[in-house]
């Protein structure tokens, strides 16, 4: 914020006090009206939120999608009432009636912040730790954007995290990654209130958090009095000045100011009750009606918002200057922001289609290599398996010294990878992919769910997609993963069978802008399927397969045809698009759980047990994935009375 405003608001201790109490009592009022929610966190964390939003946050409430705004992530998402209070007083178009409908069906103030649902909410939080992971992704996206377009990029990412966020494993992965990449524009405030749902934090945790974050290469500070707005302000200023990512431990009291409740787990997840709330107001000298925002607070926020709008206007002028001076680059920036594809994607993908057998992970690598040339906004990498997953495409790796690359070494951190991908996507300006083995999709599943919930078009490249993985054994052989992904609402799951289908899968993934895609790819080489549709000829048997089992199905089909059956063989890229032929006996062949196929076909051939260690071909044979074994199952089915 501008110096003038900073001094003005900093000089007004009274406004600070009023604003902090406004945020506290708005939150308590919301929870009270809903008779449900979490008042304690907002009441304790209101001073740090006010210090940040009044002294530092670069934003324009009239334009929540301004590309160069600061990002604010409430990782402790159960404290949503604090965020709604901030959005309300700063004029984000969240009127009092919405605050009064906190946690009600159809309101814009749901129990946890939901991206796409409320203007100004940068990401969906609540599943603990993921907000921090997304904030790291946003901070990385800022650095990567700055490296490409420094004249248009000057923002920070702020997050407020709770004890739960810091206990979750993803906090380790995300903070370690941020430290490694030196994401100095990331500033994390820890609401250190010593209380979790079950009681005192020291019932289950003794971490020295600042020391831990220092071990990751972060700048760390501790604020002993979490009500001291000036001290928090100063700490944030020091954090901004330091080149490392910053962790600020702020000692707070949960449910601050609520007599008999503050500092205890009772303040965490239940309304204060009318009586306690009245006492708290009295104690604070708060004489306003429910949901009131004092005029001085309103005026201060309006002035701050106006200053933010001016910064936004300055930025727009800079963008216009770029448009005038470098129209192609400006258009590229806009195209990436809009998530539209450049010309030539179809032609580029057509180039990868060849004749020789190869693994679809290799087909995918060929696609990625072509796409990256066309789409500078396409960035990504793997959880330390780039050679295996076909994501080592030779581009420069993003480092702390140079953020211009398009390859990201996520490290052996699947969950953070997926959350960081979400953060990069939410930041905007990029399309992002990440990769690991399909079996380890289990490690990142909570972030994939959140991608689906937030409708972010991230792309997960999941390879080594069946028991054909072979010698690494059952720990590395996915069986149930494919089905478990298909049940996530809004996740597009594509399992291509050859080059052509892999190219099609990449096209579908990139054309989708309102949800995530999982590409399920083989480790082993697969033959190229004959081109052309399966045809609409009448058939008595329809064999349907995906991915690597498509060629097995074709071979089985040939044998059945030779025996006089009229067979159609279908290789489907996306099972949700498959309509079984009602006139035929339908049989699915897929090296994975049959649970979801059983409702589609008459006979589902799959694997509903864990795999086995051994060479891939032998493992497939052991579990019945040979032409003869499948034929025997088919004949047994056809011979049933």
């Amino acid at each position: 914020m501008t110096d003038v405003l900073q001094r003005e608001s900093a000089s007004s201790v009274e406004v600070d006090r009023l604003a902090v109490d406004t945020l506290r009592f708005l939150a308590a009022d919301m929870v009270q009206a809903a008779n449900s929610g979490h008042p304690g966190m907002p009441m304790g964390a209101a001073p740090m939120a006010w210090a940040l939003w009044s002294r530092h946050l670069r934003h324009d409430p009239s334009a929540p999608d301004w590309a160069d705004r600061d990002r604010f992530v409430l990782s402790a998402g159960h404290g949503s009432a604090l965020l709604y209070g901030l959005l309300h007083i700063f004029g984000y178009g969240l009127p009092e009636e919405e605050l009064r409908r906190f946690r009600q069906l159809g309101s814009r103030t749901p129990g946890h912040p939901e991206f796409g649902h409320t203007p100004g909410v940068e990401c969906t939080t609540g599943p603990l730790g993921q907000g921090l992971g997304m904030a790291v992704g946003m901070a990385l996206a800022e650095r990567m954007t700055h490296a490409r377009h420094p004249e248009l990029t000057d923002h920070h990412t702020y997050a407020i995290v709770g004890d739960g966020c810091l206990m979750e494993g993803i906090s380790h992965e995300a903070a370690s990654f941020a430290g490694h990449l030196g994401l100095g524009r990331l500033i994390v405030l820890w609401d250190d209130n010593s209380i979790t749902i079950d009681g005192a934090v020291d019932r289950s945790c003794s971490d020295d958090q600042p020391v831990r974050f220092a071990a990751y290469g972060w700048h760390t500070q501790t604020i002993e009095d979490g009500t001291d707005v000036e001290a928090i302000d100063a700490a944030i200023s020091r954090a901004k000045a330091d080149p490392r990512p910053s962790f600020i431990a702020v000692r707070t009291v949960i449910g601050h100011g609520a007599p008999g409740v503050e500092g205890t787990p009772k303040a965490h997840g239940s309304p204060l009750g009318e009586s306690v709330l009245a006492q708290a107001m009295q104690q604070a000298g708060w004489e306003y009606p429910p949901f009131a925002v004092p005029e001085q607070v309103r005026a201060t926020c309006t002035a701050l918002a106006a200053a933010g709008a001016q910064e936004h206007a300055d930025w727009r002028a800079a963008y216009s200057a770029l448009e005038a001076g470098a129209p192609e680059r400006a258009a590229e920036i806009r195209r990436a922001q809009d998530r539209t594809l450049p010309d030539g994607v179809g032609d580029a993908l057509a180039k990868v289609i060849a004749d020789a057998p190869r693994a679809t992970r290799q087909s995918s690598q060929a696609c990625l290599t072509e796409l990256t040339r066309l789409m500078p906004e396409l960035v990504g990498g793997s959880a330390d398996l780039s050679g295996s997953t076909g994501t080592a495409i030779g581009g420069a790796i993003v480092t702390r010294a140079d953020y211009r690359g398009s390859s990201i070494a996520f490290g052996i951190r699947e969950f953070a990878m997926a959350a960081i991908m979400n953060g990069i996507s939410l930041h905007g300006g990029f399309r992002v992919y990440g990769s690991t083995f399909l079996v380890f999709a289990d490690y990142l599943r909570p972030a994939l769910r959140l991608a689906a919930l937030m409708r972010q078009p991230v792309i997960h490249v999941l390879t080594h997609d069946s028991i054909a993985v072979g010698e690494d054994g059952p720990t590395h052989q996915p069986v149930e993963q494919l089905e478990s992904l298909r049940v996530i609402p809004g996740l597009q799951v594509l399992r291509p069978a050859d080059d052509a289908q892999t190219a099609e899968a990449w096209r579908l993934a990139l054309e989708r802008t309102d949800g995530p895609t999982a590409l399920i790819l083989s480790r082993q080489a697969l033959p190229q399927l004959p081109a052309g549709p399966a045809g609409d000829h009448p058939a008595t048997i329809e064999l349907v397969a995906t991915g690597s089992e498509s060629s097995l199905a074709a071979a089985v089909g040939d044998r059945l045809t030779a025996e006089g059956h009229v067979v159609r063989t279908v290789s489907v890229l996306d099972r949700s698009q498959y309509s079984p032929d009602p006139r035929a006996t339908t049989i699915s062949i897929e090296a994975g759980s049959t649970a979801g196929w059983r409702g589609l076909v008459d006979l589902a051939i799959g694997i509903d047990e864990f795999g086995t260690c051994g060479p891939g071909d032998e493992v497939l044979a052991h579990h019945g994935f040979t032409v003869d074994s499948v034929l025997a199952r088919v004949r047994e089915h056809l011979d049933r009375p």
Copy 2:
């Protein structure tokens, strides 16, 4: 190990050198024979493994299930060839022919160590970080056993972890938990070889690991020369003397001694090749044939094994003395080890069945309260949600000052909770449960999969099991989780509808000794269903439901009956046990994904989209879970031509 033996083996520098090379070349030979696998880790980590196994490990290779043995966990499971080499030379009944069949179908030497498959393998590892989590569980189980039976308990837990283990988030959760509980008998050796699959560790990670572990309250040491057996031995001795859990960073060279390959990612996951292997042997002065174990090494290991067998005999004598002096306690110990249930479990569970409606999480709490009285070996807790999940049953909490309790405060660490549960179960002597909200089963899924793979009878209490969660919104409302659990092979998934079914679910969970169980419980109160079976009368419509939808199904059934249909309503606890009536129109009602129901019934009524924030009843109605909405769906189905 005894002092005499320690001095003997320590004095023999030549035997140390030979033994370390034996382990290195056994591993390289295995990988070479399989033409697949990871030689680098065993070659680098052989000295620390030998230092540990020759100087410290308390074990009896002739009795791998001795309750008071030290536990050794190879968390870096891809280094399995190192473990197989150790088991081979120490006489665990893993003959040379099994080493020669490394990674082959049906061998006892699969690509990653598999519990239950190879004698001496304490747990299945490979999915990174989970070995550390299980080691923490084993170390906690040791302390809890010691607190109850000090005269029979004197063992340590050792783990070797790699860079990948330490990057994974679960390492944070598990190490933080171990530090908090002061698990001083846990000693972790870090194979600090600076290399991951994709390249140098510093490509993706800059953590100061000793500082990080110190922040968790661990004792930390660094060994600069990872080939120095004496230095590692001394560090382990210091670690044992320190009351804190210990972290020993051991600098190693991946693929040590393999010319042109050592110290590079090439050593990680590919065979060395005949030529490099021959050069490595020549360089080491190794003149033995493939898979050879020099006589001095064999003799040393035999002597160490004999000493271990003597310690085991001493322990058996102590147990016999207990049997004589306190036969009931001895019998209790044996019963817990054998996982048999005490008398009276059925009667105890019958006590909880009442008439008033209540949430099944509360029914479960009543069951747990009764069971804990009968079964001192039943231990567990929650990921900081004990008040919500019905696991706050009033027992003493395990603390670093007193491990006698039966309640464990796992903290906000779902994934580590599940891995620690696996470790406690693998340790033996306990039945363990853990709990969180069903939606957060996603966070712990990789460890639940491993429980199923290892056939460990851990019990997951997963509550708040549907969109009826209400105001916390879609982030907290499970939709796809129930189905995603049902596809995990070997996981028993039970969703009770009332007190009687909840009691039955607990009985089934406890009677099962060869695999995990998930209890899926409601947040909201549910009516008690009428007793008795559904009956075998002919029906034209069969309504099937689980858990909270059972009463909805009953109400719908009443309406259909009133309309003249012949209806059977079935409430199933375990869907895998449901056989649809082939003569009836079958309709399922469950507030979750319909994917798995569609193969079972004619019409599956469920929810295949994310939930919505609002009061629970309104959310249910919004998604069609009212009698009228369900009836409309049923009628529409029946009216179809």
